[in-house]
Symmetry: C2
Subunit: 114 residues, 2 copies
């Protein structure tokens, strides 16, 4: 593949690239804020689960979420396999949070002995 | 950790869990649609890059995106390390798309010979 640096790029192409990148940056800011809100919800779920001795992971719920997101992705013309991998990535982080909350509830915030 | 099934859970707790999960599902639908829009933008970037022989990856741009998203994440009370990992995950998918578009431009959609 030919490589090229910015000095060789037509100013019109550069402007078009800049316009697209501004949209990408706006979307990324929106996604970061949506995910911040999502983690606020899952933190509350984590505290509820810890207070009522419910397990941090819930395979039935996760299977439903994945099936639903795959359908949504397909209707939005997004690769369903990518949407599933992304949700699994987020859920893994959420489970880590839930485990930490549950450990804190058991150990009063102190690290577990073993 | 004690495990518990839904039958043992207080109906009020179940209702609260259901309420939080509805919010999580709404947010996930929003994120899927934001990402579908993001891939529409990056597909356009991919076509521009392929048409003008620009490399699929752009390390300078990616470093800027990561630094910006880490700042945004911090201000939104989201773990910046998580935001960075997530962006890297999305960028890896985008670069795969760009490479495919560039290959198609060179090979007219036919698989490369070697």
């Amino acid at each position: 593949m030919t490589t090229s640096n910015n000095r060789e790029v037509d100013p019109e192409i550069r402007a078009e690239l800049g316009r697209l990148r501004e949209s990408i940056d706006n979307i990324d800011a929106a996604v970061v804020h949506m995910l911040a809100e999502r983690f606020k919800c899952t933190q509350q779920v984590g505290h509820l689960k810890a207070a009522h001795q419910l397990p941090p992971a819930d395979p039935g719920r996760e299977a439903q979420q994945i099936a639903r997101l795959r359908r949504l992705a397909e209707s939005a013309n997004l690769d369903p396999a990518f949407a599933e991998k992304l949700l699994n990535f987020i859920i893994a982080e959420v489970i880590r949070h839930h485990e930490r909350i549950a450990d804190d509830a058991v150990n009063g915030g102190k690290p577990p002995v073993n």
